[in-house]
Amino acid sequence: ASHAGFTNAPQGGTVTLGFNVPQSGPYADEGADELRAYQLAVEHLNGEGDGGMLQTFSSKVLEGNGILGKKVEYVTGDTQTKSDAARASAKSMIEKDGAVMITGGSSSGVAIAVQGLCQEAGVIFMAGLTHSNDTTGKDKKANGFRHFFNGYMSGAALAPVLAAQYGNDRKAYHLTADYTWGWTQQESIAAATEALGWQTVNNVLTPLAQTDFSSYIAPVLNSGADVLVLNHYGGNMVNSLTNAVQFGLREKIIDGKQFEIVVPLFSRLMARGAGENIKGILGSTNWHWSLQDEGTKAFVQSFGTKYGFPPSQAAHTCYVQTLLYADAVARAGSFNPCAVVEALEGFEFDGLGNGPTLYRAEDHQCFKDVLVVRGKENPTSEFDLLEVVEVTPRAQVEYAPDHPMFAGGNLGQCNPGA
Amino acid sequence: MNVKPDFNKGKNYAETAPAFLSVWNMEAYYGESYIVQNISFNVHEGEILALLGRNGAGKTSTLRSIARMDNPQVTHGEIWLDHKPLHLMSSHQAAQAGIGLVPEDRCIIPGLTVEENIQLAQIAPPIGWSISRLYELFPRLGERRKQEGVTLSGGEQQMLAIARALARDIKVLLLDEPYEGLAPVIVDEIEKTLRIIKEQGITTILVEQNAVRALELADRAVILDTGSVVFDGSAKEVLGNAELRAEYLAI
């Protein structure tokens, strides 16, 4: 009876979560890894397996008996990395399967679309992989939370390392995917590097559907730039990086300086797609399996034992968000979205990787350490592609909630639905 | 194609096939409509057979069935040409076995010149008349050799269609309304050509609306009505039998 008054209040002894990930389309592999993480999280919540990060998590309310004593069940759906499909799939979870929480996704467009839907429907949304500033900026929603970092944080973490490694006097040429995420990342990186003395000589927008970037790479050679920043993700990133390397950019010396390529947002899965080309390239990432904190070790152990390979950053995010949601429900003592929002807002914790972490109340963005990584020169295995160059402390990537890059949004009120 | 010979009679029909070309109990369908309804007739080597009947009687369908085209589909019966079982063949095999059909709408191939249309006929064996010999027979085609075949006038197309059949070494020529749309002088010409062809020993089945004309040329006649043979006999007999002519040919 205490659960009345909100959408899909769990009935009986079970509670249903909705895992909405790309299962078809170019991000299907990433989606598959997310799904593995979710399944692992459900096992751990239900008290099966070795418990993973439940042991290292600073909050100790989860007991391995489901959530609030209700066994966790889940439904899955395919976002196809399309807003419409993602919303349809999320709706079917809400309307048909009675999911109280939706999580997942592998692109910002989808995350924002589903977040909006969850706000309207009155369920909690725990975003998966979404890196655009807008998710917790102008499109932020009270029912949505993001564990992943964002474009601004990438810039703030990456810029000092770039300056340290390549010097303060650099001319950067940006190639940017022509859609929201690309723009916000480009803006963030340009701002952060310019603050340290870099110059941005050009920013060229590339169509989403582009497969061959040669005609965008060729002009870089004569532009006077000595750094190429690729604001691309997924297939775009693999192709633009491959093309840039093909054109011999990395062997170029411009005004006595070695030409460098930077890929601000890295993922190990994409790095594998880029093969040899990734070696020595700097970028940032949310999390990496080679971190040595207890939480990471427990998670990698548990994931690796079950699946035979280490988890990706997307898997980590998804796993952690499931735990965080469960924990918030347990602490609030209710599945009511508004209670969950209250429990998560301003929540500080540790033990889930990336050091002490805060879910900021103002915009539902999470703040934690950000990793700067480099493509490894001599990988020992097919998973060992990135090496951590620096763990940028949380303080360095924090920003004010009303920072101009995040302005314009309105969190609104939490919506419990029915 | 996929028609099995019907051995109901207990022996292979080929052994008793009385003629050069024998059609025996042939039935054929367009989809579900039963068009060729159990037709049997024989054609002897070197003769001209006139195949007559009203519009829609099934003349074209019969010719197409003999040439083993996909439509109509022959579902029953046997066709033997010179001891070869046509009913087991597909249309290009039938052509190689010696069938030459001049279809009623001529079917000149678009995109090819007059000469290419003829050349096309000489790719698969056996090859018949040479191109220069055909141009002698139809000088008009020689003049138009580089023109695209489908832009020829109606009569010219008819000549091309016949030329194309003769370009192959055929045993049986199936002519579906060859005079249609031709100027009277040309009709005379073609009639002469048919006689020449006959002299070469080629067997001909001639479908023609101008029955009198056809009968004058032909040795024998078969009359079809709604898909069945209603008369099989000598051409003279038809010309002499006013009743028959009135009933099935309306002349």
């Binding site: 899955t76 759906g77 395919d78 349809a88 467009g109 022509d178 | -």
Partner: protein, 400 residues
């Protein structure tokens, strides 16, 4: 009645009953049973069925009747969606102005594109429409969403923000699309034994509109205008030499089907107020082509069936994951269970595309007339031989 012949009236009645009773028909399995996975009777999917049904019916008016294969119809769907959301942003959440505007705007857009593209026929026409749609998509996805002139809100999709004007919005009204106060999301749930049925306001609004659209389509098919459209498909040469100008006929058909598409787009926004650019991508245009052919081009009800089948697969099959399979086959001995699941697994869940592809192939190979032919065959088999003769004479009327 309604100016329809008996067979058409019967068809309309059947469709009427099916749409009205859809919440029951689509939910045949008890909620708790393993097969509940196959239930499709929840608001979103039912809405999708009828909305894409409208899209396909409209597309079929052009393609099925005139044979002009447009590969850019999604552009009209997208334009309709945007128009509707803009009405939400400017006027408020009442769906009526949005839906009306979406029809008008897409009609105008179709007129513009039709005038240009209909100068060509056959494959050249298809590629022209494709080119226009792809351009619209590219413009909507990035160019028209730059901060200075943000018409489409790009990748994120056009949506209503709290600071939008919404001139006619008042606090008494729902904060979501509504029809004079009746929220599109309002759903009445009915518990009947082990079953649960959902009656959703948005669905019923869409269903009624689809019935009207379907009725109009029947009228068009049976009208002299429809006859002329079929004449265009059959022999344009003869048409011209019979003193008929084929261009205005095709253009009218193009605009009408563009308006159907725009209406479908408007309804998509009306039940879910977010309009994304990917609705205009060629894959979306391709989808409606597939729906129509799959169901049976040139038939009245076929395209609706095709739309239903594709949407069903997209939403139902994609959700069958490994744990669902284990639930179903749990009764089998372990080894066998795993074996069966390994066999089935590639075809469901993330493999749903594979099944869809196979269905496409199987349908065209074995049912050349599309799903509708399957239905006819079943019907014929049921009614026995006597009825089969009737079926034959009916088949001479292609638009059955």
């Amino acid at each position: 009645m309604f100016g329809l012949k008996n067979t058409d009236l019967r068809l309309l009645l059947i469709v009427f009953v099916l749409t009205m009773a859809a919440p029951f028909i689509l939910n045949p399995f008890p909620t708790e049973s393993g097969l509940a996975q196959f239930n499709a009777g929840y608001p979103d999917l039912m809405q999708k069925f009828v909305i894409f049904g409208i899209f396909a019916i409209g597309f079929n008016i052009l393609f099925g009747l005139t044979g002009y294969l447009s590969f850019g119809h999604a552009a009209f769907l997208g334009v309709g969606s945007y128009a509707c959301v803009w009405m939400f942003k400017l006027l408020g959440y009442n769906v009526v102005p949005g839906i009306l505007l979406s029809i008008v705007v897409s009609g105008l857009f179709a007129l513009l594109i039709g005038v240009i593209t209909l100068r060509r026929s056959g494959i050249y026409f298809s590629i022209l429409t494709l080119a226009f749609a792809q351009m619209s998509f590219a413009l909507a996805y990035s160019v028209l969403s730059n901060p200075k002139f943000n018409l489409t809100n790009g990748e994120t999709g056009l949506q209503v923000y709290a600071d939008d004007p919404q001139w006619f919005h008042s606090d008494r009204l729902p904060d979501l699309p509504h029809l004079f106060g009746l929220s599109m999301r309002a759903t009445h749930k009915m518990q009947l034994g082990a079953w649960e049925f959902q009656f959703n306001a948005g669905y019923y609004m869409c269903a009624v509109i689809m019935l009207v659209c379907f009725y109009l389509a029947i009228r068009i098919f049976r009208s002299p205008f429809g006859l002329m459209l079929r004449a265009v498909k059959s022999n344009q040469q003869r048409m011209n030499y019979t003193g008929l100008n084929s261009r205005p006929y095709t253009l009218a058909a193009f605009v009408i089907s563009g308006m159907y598409a725009g209406l479908a787009g408007g309804l998509l926004s009306a039940v879910d107020p977010l309009a994304g650019a990917e609705r205009m991508q060629w894959t979306a245009s391709g989808e409606v082509v597939l729906m129509t052919i799959l169901g049976g081009a040139g038939t009245l009800i076929g395209p609706v069936l095709g739309a239903g089948l594709i949407k069903y697969f997209e939403n139902i099959f994609s959700k069958i994951n490994e744990s669902v399979l284990h639930q179903w086959f749990g009764f089998l001995p372990d080894g066998l269970e795993d074996f069966v699941i390994t066999l089935i697994y590639p075809f469901v869940g993330k493999g749903w595309h594979l099944t869809l592809g196979l269905i496409f192939m199987l349908v065209v190979i074995f049912l050349p007339g599309g799903l509708i032919e399957g239905g006819q065959r079943i019907g014929r088999a049921l009614r026995g031989k006597k009825a089969s003769d009737a079926g034959k004479s009916a088949s001479t009327e292609p638009a059955e």
